[in-house]
Symmetry: D2
Subunit: 347 residues, 4 copies
């Protein structure tokens, strides 16, 4: 009898993604096999697709991208007991070693031996089924859709940034960049209690969406400058200018979190200002321990994840999904739905 097969969108070279059949993965010890319901397209997926690498992470062989995923448990590996077949789950895509110094201290996102879906050489979720450690599959309540479940991953990025900046009730938060991460960081900050929520971009439709999602002020940085006295800056554009301008708009003792990664390794920053105001600057690398909170916020309706989806694609259209952002400046988030037979317009 022939082994069961799944489809996967495989990156062979920059600009070359092919739909292929692969043997259905076997869930290992304490793993669950998940039928993928929805996978978001992340900027890093697009970067791998276009350039074949991100910094030192180089795609050296055929690779399945995709790490913002949700789905339904279809099989249990040996010893897996946290889920039942049929359970709907969101996947936390990075599985750390669990024993190193970083893992033990609660910073497992900095584990050097992490295995992260869709980051070379680990295959990701642009496929029908994917296996993952049961502790990194989180139950999705009924009210959270597959698409929202896939967007728990970038929401976790935003929530992690808020935790770094210790965003709390009544805070004034500046988010720079109204792409998917910026829009989710904005909503995360709002959910943490921030009441003044400013966001910048150069695209008016993104700023309009930000207003609908809770921004109390939107700034088109092509026309106006950033001013104010914010507790926290969540820099989500990867622009050094945004970081520099945002630092200047922080209160004494405020915190800037560099979430977006820009093209350059280095940045010229206002060090003397950072000193005289005792500002804090840090960056985020993925997240740790925030999935349950992110799902709870989604389930409670404190964030609107589906509002970000501007394009839906079948698995066979993965390459179109990867190109959607380049081809439409107003696009926010493309979603691949492996169980769907064809592309659907966003509602």
């Amino acid at each position: 009898m022939a082994a069961a097969a799944v489809r996967a969108a495989v990156l062979h070279a920059p600009g070359d993604v092919r739909l292929e059949e692969r043997v259905t993965p076997e869930p290992g010890p304490r793993e669950v096999l998940v039928e993928v319901g929805a996978v978001g397209v992340c900027g890093s997926d697009v970067h791998y697709y276009e350039h074949g690498r991100i910094g030192q992470h180089v795609v050296r062989g055929p690779l399945v991208l995709g790490h913002e995923a949700s789905g339904r448990v279809v099989a249990l590996g040996a010893g897996a007991s946290r889920h039942r077949v049929g359970d709907r789950v969101a996947l936390e895509p990075g599985v750390p070693c669990g024993a190193c110094r970083e893992c033990r201290s609660g910073r497992y996102n900095l584990c050097r031996d992490v295995r992260f879906l869709g980051t070379p050489p680990i295959d990701g979720a642009f496929t029908d089924q994917v296996a993952i450690h049961e502790d990194f599959a989180f139950p999705l309540p009924d009210g959270v859709s597959d698409e929202a479940g896939a967007l728990i991953e970038p929401l976790a990025v935003g929530l992690w940034a808020c935790r770094k900046a210790n965003v709390g009730p009544g805070d004034r938060v500046l988010v720079t960049g109204a792409g998917p991460i910026g829009l989710l960081a904005l909503q995360a900050a709002r959910a943490c209690g921030a009441t003044e929520l400013a966001i910048t971009d150069v695209n008016e439709r993104r700023l309009e969406l930000a207003r609908r999602l809770g921004a109390t002020r939107t700034i088109d940085v092509a026309r106006a400058s950033v001013e104010g006295e914010y507790n926290a800056l969540l820099e989500c554009s990867g622009s050094t200018t945004a970081l520099v301008d945002g630092l200047a708009a922080l209160r004494p003792g405020g915190t800037a979190v560099a979430v977006g990664m820009g093209p350059d390794e280095d940045a010229t920053l206002p060090l003397a200002l950072l000193q005289t105001r005792e500002l804090w600057l840090t960056g985020t690398f993925r997240y740790a321990g925030v999935y349950p909170g992110a799902i709870a916020l989604a389930a409670a309706g404190r964030v609107d994840l589906e509002a970000l989806v501007t394009g839906r694609f079948g698995l066979e259209e993965t390459e179109s999904a990867l190109r959607a952002g380049r081809e439409d400046a107003d696009a926010v988030k493309a979603m691949v739905l492996p169980r769907s037979s064809r592309s659907q317009p966003a509602t």
Copy 2:
């Protein structure tokens, strides 16, 4: 020419409050004189009214009670520059010394030399006008009514409890006691991002109000027991039983905050449990540095303060206001409105 006069409701002995005329206070250096718009009746006011003391704080002479106050600036003392005549403000009633170790370390609520409105021997706000240091009068936005402005004070208590417990996004919070403080702690926790919000009481109407204000679960502790796995317990009833049961319902590493003060100095607590789960237990004494955040939450509509008001009274009815809670088990918050000529029913 006769000096201008104000009215004040003066406590002369337990159960003896008289409306009297007093010379209008002069705002001292950097003080503002505030025409009182609304003053909430706090449980501590009632305790002074009934017993003439709270622990070591003894009423030894005629005293004006009342410390939950808002109003309008009518005069400026020498050097006061933060407000203009006509500005609407909420009063933070405790003015600390500003120089001692506690003040310098950001814990000014623990300053031994604090002067606190309505706590002997400092006269409070059940009067037409009161003077206070300009830095302890906080501007009220137009959207925040005088009554809501008065309730910033107990909201600050709830917010301070949330800060002690580090309540954050997706947290599970248990509030014990659905009186004014419990209902405001509940809303503060919600505003901080908590998504599971359980609250206990024995009064069904208070629990019903709690549900309207965001409780996801209400527990009538006369009929059901508290169970669960909460991140934080905000004990607002002053009941040792509630504290003990709440501690047992905390997650490992969780925090219990004793906000309500009970009749006894001591409490028998589950120390071994606290050790094996590494729980944290602390209490709150007033608050520090949370007024701006509390006002921002009110202005942003993240909390509903006016929903707590169940009775409104004129200044000449202050004694009725102080008795309202005893006479109606469903009463939540009585409000004294000095500018109103007579008692009004709550809407």
Copy 3:
């Protein structure tokens, strides 16, 4: 050919420890096999020896006690690469699951699935050789003896208490109880920068030892009472009286850490005091992530571990070692040295 054998001191029933031969353990995947150099006798070992249980932890079959251990790596399991045969190591005796919520958040000491040496049903270190995950064996520098290496474990307890209390430079710390844990908590607090170091006991020789180890004040609580204004209380005696008196001697905002476990589940505590001074109370359960720091302090000479050893015993004398504390009120720490042929007097 007969399988190689090791000796083990096996607890069969309260008061019944027998030296037996057992098959040499095989190190599992990523485990190392360690030839035990020294094992300290802990109060919990004595409690199991005398009562056969500690709370819900019941000895149901033959059990090897001992969890304060150091030694030398003699074999490597599959995939173990952090150590070489011959390396000297201190053992962190609790190996957590590495995946649960507590593990992921850096609180792995609260992992429900931890396997802890010498806690039923896991055999401990009163034996010639013991296997442990390589990540829980920590290299010992040359200057740290086997005995000091064994005492890293109780030092970790003291250091964890200091971390809970956030002991820092210039702090005033009160340690109650000058047994091994108290004396190590004292030294840990000193190493963290505390400059006022008071310690209580009823045994003058222990207090004398405390003075040699850095106590700036010793209090014989049979004769004098505890007073002062401490930043932190490290309660190491298990006495509720000590905890209550120590809480009363804390500064506003101070922290009490209940390290010692007493005979009772509950304790009557000064709740009103805790509220009006906003004190913090917590307890410790083992420790997490402090072994490297503890070893570094020992290697740098910031703590004197060997000063605590008041009795040395061969493996065949394990039962005498377990009885040493009962038979001599001045005894502090008994040490079992499996490679030694017979008992030696302490220097």
Copy 4:
């Protein structure tokens, strides 16, 4: 009768300091008048002396420099009750307003209305007597000399940096720059429990002094590069290169504190590294709330302050003291001793 007079070393223009007589200051309400025993020369004093300004702080009229001071109380202003005439004290030179948002939150070093000795337009301590708020004069124990008392100020800078970096037991700390601040930050880190203490400089005699003061490793950056895996970087040289190299030597999650101020407002920093390792970068501006701890460390012998003094000068030699660092590359700390009649060689 002629009013009593004091001498003061007055800066009239860059390079122009004159000893003049002035009317003895009157201590204001809650102030104490202090007869100055010792005043250290800080790099900022030298900068004002040479350039007449530091950034936006411009010397616009005759100014007395000096802010690292200790002495003896000789008179009490109205209401001053914390000290007695004759008490020896160290002066915390910055007196904040005590009421603004920064003051209330425990960050009074960021108060905009701070009055800081020797910073224009406030006269400093290169004089016989200086008045200061009693709460900013801290008692000096007998064992702490006047010179050590003066050096509490730069020790506070080092301690504040350690607090920002959360330096704790067993930490690995890199200090860049072995000038007075670097040498004190080193000792502060050691007092906080750091056990690996590396320090850089290009002057071998300063590195030799650092070794005597506890450095476990000294790096002559003219010859060798900085490598390692440190928890914290305390950058005390003002060199961007040192900051950049130090950041690269931090562990994931480590903290860099920019203490030294360089000539440039901006610095080109490794932002991508900061992101992928989630490093923290901040700076220090003076300190808040650390004087009592700094004095306690000095009194307990945990730091050696006098070892830094390489030159002693009479008040009439203040200008020589300000020039000492320029004229001798091996000089570390010059001390002005107003009660001494002439310059004395360092022992």
